[in-house]
């Protein structure tokens, strides 16, 4: 299986304070990789760096065979990284539909398909994003990323704030996506859902990759040590 994403030993700073001290992770073509760790361990920072929203001081990032370590954000997205960011970040002053089409690129995912996945969004299509309920915003953020038809979908706590039924929907969608060969990098706290679909797990601790392996290899001891469960 060829590597789609290869992050090697990146170090990242926020101003003077260092957040990542050497994170490495790989996502293969068609793979689902779970990125795990306690609060504040650097999951989001890793993702921000992948999407070029933060710059690394050291280390290498390759995506689809290109060194993206010095590319601007939009180039990386155009190469096929679709981000569902932490905290939703919908465009507040745009309507639901405008949010979805703003950065859409041609491909399998169309407005119709997103609406099929999230009928709620269709109902609210003319509403300003900042007046949506929290869960609705979350759906919008996922739909928006799908509309860019990414090679690698990056989900940072994408099920936060969603009702159980919807969460199930999303997991179903993730499983479906996986079945169609979509590569996914995913951060989520619901291990019971996450582990069954992940091909690989990467656990961060204090800004370092502390453990990598298959979900089966994640023993209760390891889970307790790194995740506190």
């Amino acid at each position: 299986m060829s590597e789609l994403l290869d992050i090697e030993n990146i170090e990242v700073f926020y101003g003077p304070s260092q957040a990542l001290f050497g994170v490495s992770l790989k996502v293969g073509e068609g793979e689902v990789v779970a990125l795990m760790g306690r609060n504040g361990m650097g999951k989001t920072t890793t993702i921000r760096t992948l999407c070029r929203m933060s710059k690394q001081k050291a280390g290498r990032i390759e995506f689809a065979g290109c060194d993206i370590g010095s590319m601007p954000s939009h180039k990386v997205a155009q190469l096929g990284v679709g981000l569902v960011p932490e905290g939703r970040r919908c465009f507040a002053n745009l309507t639901v539909e405008e949010n979805l089409v703003a950065a859409a690129r041609a491909g399998e995912w169309s407005l119709a398909r997103v609406y099929e996945l999230f009928p709620r969004l269709e109902e609210r299509q003319g509403q300003m994003a900042n007046t949506l309920s929290g869960g609705e915003q979350q759906m919008l953020a996922i739909g928006r990323a799908l509309m860019t038809n990414p090679k690698l979908l990056v989900l940072d706590e994408a099920t936060e704030g969603l009702a159980p039924v919807i969460r199930e929907e999303i997991w179903r969608a993730v499983r479906e996506l996986k079945a169609t060969g979509q590569s996914i990098l995913i951060v989520d706290k619901t291990l019971s859902e996450l582990l069954p679909i992940a091909d690989h797990c990467v656990i961060l601790e204090r800004g370092r990759t502390a453990w990598t392996g298959t979900p089966d290899a994640l023993t209760p001891e390891l889970a307790d040590r790194y995740l506190g469960v």
Partner: protein, 306 residues
């Protein structure tokens, strides 16, 4: 006031309003949609007027001058966007105010260096000169009527651009969250340069059109700037429709205010005092209007979120 005169003044108000809109159009685009306070908008307006006057004087053609005004201002706009403005999007409004204020100084003095301190000549083109008789026997300058038409077209064009095209959606998305729209694959940097140049071009275009009616001189952009801001704010930032409505409202209120306030006060006080108070009040009128609007609708007439 006779009915005919009242009608004429109403028309004048409308025309003044549309002129204001033309002056504000580029600013609405940059300020309302990109979220950048560009005090140098007036300078770009001036650049357009000077370019038009210079080219018209050299070639004898107002129309070539008009083209030159757009090109020169858009070019100047793109230039400052790439060298200065670009660094300001992530800054707060204060840095934008200071930087673009600095640009005003640079533009004004630069312009004076090139063109000298004396006002330039720019007149309306021959085919639009003089009055036309409106139905009802009212003579009205053709050029002013043309401005109403042009202003309307600009408003329509801008509205379609912002509200109906993907370009518009992306610009607005960029205003909400630049980092995010870039992370979704939109080259927001280049897009902003284009939009800024477009806004600058509009400013230059307005400078040329209005310059032909008023005067072309260093510093002509400053009063315009405040007026334009007033209009945009009354209208509701980011709304082209709001800006148009507000311009016309301001134009009409101002025009009717200045012709009627002195005589209104004359009804109950002696004429010279009435004249003085009436005209003082009328020069404050648009600010009063703005304050009243904002007190009752703190987000302008056409608020974006509703």
């Amino acid at each position: 006031m006779t009915a005919a005169l009242f009608f004429e003044q109403l028309l004048n108000g409308l025309q003044f309003g549309v002129t204001l809109f033309l002056m504000a159009a580029g600013l609405t685009l940059v300020f309302g949609v990109m979220g950048l306070i560009n005090l140098a908008h007036g300078s770009l307006y001036m650049v357009g007027a000077f370019a038009c006057a210079a080219v018209a004087a050299a070639t004898g053609s107002f129309w070539l001058g008009l083209v030159a005004s757009i090109v020169a201002a858009a070019f100047a706009g793109a230039l400052i966007e790439m060298t200065v403005i670009r660094r300001l999007y992530n800054r707060d409004h204060l840095d934008q105010v200071l930087a673009t204020f600095a640009l005003i100084l640079i533009f004004s003095e630069g312009c004076r260096f090139i063109f000298g301190s004396f006002p330039l000549f720019l007149d309306v083109p021959a085919i639009l000169a003089g009055p036309i008789t409106l139905p009802g026997g009212l003579p009205y300058p053709i050029y002013r009527l043309s401005i109403i038409v042009v202003g309307g077209l600009v408003a329509l064009g801008l509205y379609l651009l912002i509200a109906k095209t993907r370009l518009g959606i992306r610009i607005r998305a960029g205003e909400a969250d630049r980092e995010m729209i870039a992370a979704l694959g939109v080259d927001i940097r280049t897009l902003y340069t284009i939009v800024f140049a477009l806004g600058a071009g509009l400013a230059g275009f307005a400078g040329a059109l209005v310059g032909a009616l008023q005067s072309v001189q260093v510093g002509m952009g400053e009063p315009v700037l405040i007026l334009a801001f007033v209009v945009i704010v009354i209208g509701g930032i980011g709304s082209i429709k709001g800006a148009l409505i507000a311009s016309i409202l301001v134009g009409i209120v101002d025009t009717l205010g200045r012709v009627s306030l002195p005589s209104l006060f004359g009804l109950f006080m002696d004429p010279s005092a009435a004249n003085s108070i009436g005209s003082s009040l009328s020069s404050m009128l648009i600010y009063v209007l703005m304050a009243v609007v904002l007190i009752f609708k703190p987000e302008g007439l056409v608020s974006q979120n509703g």
